[in-house]
């Protein structure tokens, strides 16, 4: 990290910038207007230009991240949501990649139990898509012959590694169908109440979504959460544990499981994470 330049900290600058931010987002500042040169245009109008720009930048970034939610809500309602959300959860960074992270929770706080509650799950699904888009790359392909070479007494301790872009979503509404309709350019209708699970992941051609069977979800969630093979298998219903082989082949072949770690073998570390 660079040596701290805050030794030359400018308290007047800090106060000015704090007031500016408070004025733009919350219209709260004590002495800011008196520090703005009027020069033919009063301070309120000058500050309003910056407020409009800050709102517009934030809303456009949110629209890009949540196109299905935008289609469901309509532009006017979405813009209104964007502004109230921005004031509640302002951008925490100099890039806009993460500004939507809290939107699903924010919607849940406001829509739980209401007619539009399905929008929370639309937002959750779209945020999964966003995370998949920016996740690390992985070029590793799990070789089943290498896996088969693990001694039987050590196999229970194997920990599988999912592709970094994999997201697993449980929803109470049929948002997969809604998302698919939007992708196909069809009109979006409010999602009906139905329990479903969705796998989100990035392939070479883009982000792909698919519905998951309950058994697949249980097992992949356990793997995602770091369970050993023995623990992940134990998470399955007793009558389904003989499905392990099929599960393994299915998700290795699909590239969802990309690696494994076992006693004496470390998973290959890939990606370009910080």
């Amino acid at each position: 990290m660079p040596a701290s330049p805050e030794a030359v900290h400018d308290l007047a600058l800090q106060d000015l910038q704090r007031q500016f931010v408070q004025e733009i987002l919350y219209r709260k500042s004590d002495g800011l207007r008196s520090q703005v040169v009027a020069n033919g245009l009063d301070a309120d109008r000058r500050l309003a230009i910056y407020r409009t720009k800050a709102r517009e930048t934030f809303a456009l970034a949110l629209e890009a991240a949540f196109p299905v939610l935008l289609a469901c809500m309509g532009s006017e309602q979405f813009r209104s949501l964007a502004w109230t959300y921005q004031r509640a959860w302002p951008s925490p960074a100099g890039n806009l990649l993460h500004i939507g992270a809290r939107l699903p929770g924010y919607l849940a706080d406001h829509l739980r139990g209401m007619e539009d509650e399905y929008l929370c799950d639309v937002a959750r699904l779209e945020w999964c898509v966003q995370e998949a888009l920016v996740a690390a790359d992985s070029s590793s392909v799990l070789d089943l012959t290498v896996l088969a070479a693990v001694p039987p007494e050590s196999q229970g301790e194997i920990r599988f590694v999912l592709h970094p872009s994999v997201g697993l979503l449980r929803t109470d509404y049929g948002v997969f169908a809604l998302w698919a309709a939007h992708q196909a350019g069809q009109p979006v209708e409010p999602a009906r109440q139905v329990t479903e699970s969705v796998l989100v992941r990035r392939l070479a051609e883009g982000v792909q979504l698919q519905r998951l069977l309950p058994l697949d979800l249980l097992w992949l969630e356990a793997v995602r959460d770091g369970a050993t093979l023995a623990e992940a298998t134990a998470a399955l219903p007793a009558g389904d544990q003989d499905q392990l082989g099929a599960l393994l082949v299915r998700w290795v072949t699909a590239g969802v499981i990309t690696d494994f770690a076992s006693v004496g073998r470390l998973a290959v570390q890939e990606g370009t994470g910080p």
């Binding site: 990290m1 660079p2 040596a3 701290s4 330049p5 805050e6 030794a7 030359v8 900290h9 400018d10 007047a12 600058l13 800090q14 000015l16 910038q17 704090r18 500016f20 931010v21 733009i24 987002l25 008196s34 520090q35 703005v36 040169v37 020069n39 033919g40 245009l41 301070a43 109008r45 000058r46 500050l47 230009i49 910056y50 720009k53 800050a54 930048t57 934030f58 970034a61 302002p90 951008s91 925490p92 960074a93 100099g94 890039n95 806009l96 990649l97 888009l133 920016v134 996740a135 690390a136 790359d137 992985s138 970094p164 872009s165 990035r202 883009g206 990606g271 370009t272 994470g273 910080p274």
Partner: protein
């Protein structure tokens, strides 16, 4: 990970490469010497965007242009932002890296905008220390760009261009001179754009930006959503006359035109610079023939 540096950037016009043009750009490989991208759009850990940039850098000069570091902010520099920027710089090995003379956050709240500095000695010291720290962290020089502004703070102790030049001298950085931003701010605040150009030493300028702006209720807004205006082209010709040939970028970020249209705007920038250079050479030759010893310093009206 790329093994060689991206191509150098010549004193010709390049284009801002935005994601809606990525596929067409890679398919057509247009005849443009260099491109500039916004650094923050490539802060992801992986994915398509980075793959596109890897492919582009093999055949084109690349400039990384940051918009979110908040160099003039009073919050500490964001270590995560710096780490991601350094990782990108190491991956792309760009010919140019640039940021803005502005701030963008306070108390951890980011407005994701290019906000104006007060032009005071104290703010200059603060900013120069941070630019130096960033250059040290990245292990290379950066360029800093003047921004368009819609307000000025009371108590200015120097002009904007003096502030910019002093910053470059103290921090050892270069200047990315945005000619459209000079025009926009000059119109909004009532100072002569010509004076701004005269105040910038040629040796400090590493790049020029050109873009379109929009008039809203009597105020010029730097929207990057339109062609460069005639007035800004005129100011650009004056800049080329004063500074000499400089890598020049056409920025267009909103209401994005076709790639063809963007390329045409870059061609126009090259033509404007070329015309200015030939007029200047012609005048100098004429004066030299008359034995005027001051010919080399002649200024074309």
């Amino acid at each position: 990970m790329p093994a060689t540096a991206s191509r150098p950037i010549p004193a010709q016009a390049g284009i801002g490469l935005r994601s809606p043009h990525h596929n067409e750009f890679l398919a057509r490989r247009p005849n443009v010497p260099w491109v500039e991208v916004h650094s923050e759009n490539f802060f992801a850990d992986g994915g398509r965007q980075l793959q596109v940039l890897d492919a582009v850098r093999r055949d084109y000069g690349v400039s990384l242009h940051g918009v979110g570091l908040s160099l003039g902010g009073s919050d500490p520099l964001d270590p995560e932002h710096l780490r991601r920027l350094r990782r990108l710089v190491q991956r792309v090995e760009p010919a140019l890296v640039s940021e803005h003379v502005c701030w963008g956050s306070a108390d951890g709240i980011f407005l994701n905008d290019l906000l104006p500095m007060p032009y005071t000695e104290s703010a200059l010291r603060h900013l120069a220390a941070r630019v130096s720290a960033v250059q040290e962290f990245l292990g290379r020089q950066i360029l800093v760009e003047n921004v368009s502004s819609y307000l000025e703070f009371d108590g200015a102790e120097m002009t904007e261009w003096d502030f910019l030049v002093q910053l470059a001298r103290r921090a050892g950085c270069g200047i990315l001179l945005d000619v459209n931003n000079i025009y926009v701010s000059a119109e909004n605040h009532g100072f002569p754009a010509h004076n701004y150009l005269l105040g910038i030493p040629a040796e400090l300028v590493g790049e020029i930006h050109l873009a379109g702006h929009t008039a809203v209720d009597g105020v010029l807004i730097d929207t990057h959503s339109a062609p460069v205006t005639d007035a800004v082209w005129a100011l650009y010709r004056e800049a080329v006359q004063l500074l000499g040939p400089v890598p020049t970028l056409i920025e267009w970020d909103a209401e994005l035109p076709t790639l063809e249209r963007l390329m045409a705007e870059a061609t126009r920038a090259d033509e404007q610079a070329s015309v200015q250079a030939s007029v200047q050479a012609s005048v100098q030759a004429s004066l030299a023939r008359r034995g005027n010893g001051e010919a080399a310093h002649a200024r074309v009206a």
